[in-house]
């Protein structure tokens, strides 16, 4: 009986159904919380790009986000703009993605409204080596991009500190170079095509 084909098939059906039901239930129950976490993480990333305080409770973060940042379309791409109380555009957060060493690196690059400087950078997803390439997410690396001047015809580069040069991550040359390549492509192909909005 126990080794019969019918028993085997019925058994497999029942076991699959029970466990699928059980997982679907858990997923359904926790999904709102997971989506809320993801939305919060995204909001915090964008606040960071524009150098706005990203601490506080979830409600405070959402309120601050809504007061300062608006989604928009410029130059044919969807991005976020930082606006002041009067509605003037202060800067853009342009999404980017590109190949890292192991996987796709995604994030936002903040540029000022006149497109003359970088406001900040944030990486929202990356699969680089933890502790090496993964350190692009750490403040020591990303803080270097704050208020970096964008000079036409002079791509971002690593070198000795000062003079607009950045520090690469020791032991993670491939990831460091991949990030610069993504950003330089973004600056030359996307950021330069943004339409500077009135009042900017």
């Amino acid at each position: 009986m126990k080794s019969g084909y019918i028993y085997t098939i019925v058994f497999m059906f029942i076991v699959s159904a029970v466990f699928t039901f059980f997982l679907a239930g858990a997923n359904e129950f926790l999904l709102p919380k997971i989506q809320e976490n993801e939305r919060l993480a995204e909001r915090k990333s964008l606040l960071y790009v524009f150098n706005i305080d990203q601490n506080g409770t979830a409600d405070e973060v959402f309120a601050r986000f809504d007061a300062n940042i608006k989604p928009a379309t410029s130059g044919g791409i969807d991005l976020y703009t930082q606006v002041d109380a009067a509605g003037n555009v202060l800067g853009y957060a342009v999404p980017f993605s590109g190949a890292g060493l192991w996987g796709t690196i995604r994030g936002y690059l903040g540029v000022s409204a006149d497109l003359q400087s970088v406001l900040g950078i944030v990486f929202t997803s990356q699969n680089e080596t933890p502790g090496l390439g993964g350190r692009i997410e750490e403040p020591a690396y990303r803080e270097q991009y704050r208020n970096l001047a964008i000079v036409a015809g002079q791509p971002l580069a690593y070198g000795e500190a000062g003079g607009g040069k950045l520090d690469a991550i020791t032991g993670a040359t491939q990831t460091s170079n991949a990030v610069l390549k993504i950003l330089n492509t973004l600056l030359s192909e996307t950021v330069s095509k943004l339409e500077v909005m009135p009042g900017g």
Binding site: K2, T8, M12, V15, F19, L23, P130, G131
Partner: protein
Amino acid sequence: MAETVKSVISRNMWKDNQVLRQILGICSSLAVTNLMTNSLVMGIGLTFTTALSSLTLSAMRNLIPHRIRMIVQTLIIAAYVILVDIFLKAYVPDISKQLGPYVGLIITNCIIMGRAEAFAQKNPPFLSFLDGLFAGLGYTTVLLIISFIRELLGFGTLFGFNVNFIGFETWTIMVMPPAAFFIIGTLIWISSNLLAKSGKKKG
């Protein structure tokens, strides 16, 4: 050979430790042990999965048709791993992000299926649960020992807290997987020696 609660514990924690004696679960031991926090969460995830899948499989052991038992094991293990993944995403999103694909890879950890095949299919539910629980705890202990050495020397921190008081230069090699390879090798060597010695004494 009838197993008692005591023998299940001592076997899994030391005599037949999954990592040191059975050389199982090596992939994750190399991958997630550069930070103690990640090792701890990985250990808890694996312990939870192994204990509950052993319990479930043992409770169902007289119903599962022998020729499809491995498919059933995989299904049940996968269900628990997905559950762990969902919980981490919902309650500790930061750690979930750091562990990334490794949580999903708990499914492929040989320890879980090894316990299911070697123990849960022949033993009653409570003992199987304990067997899974302590197999997981044995694994977690080894992971924590490895990550203690790696995080201390590689970052100068423990559980993210800076303990590098004398300001020594941190070792990049400790952050990378090869370091775990050397440390595991050394631990296996030490444990084999200790076990061989205690075996001799008993005669």
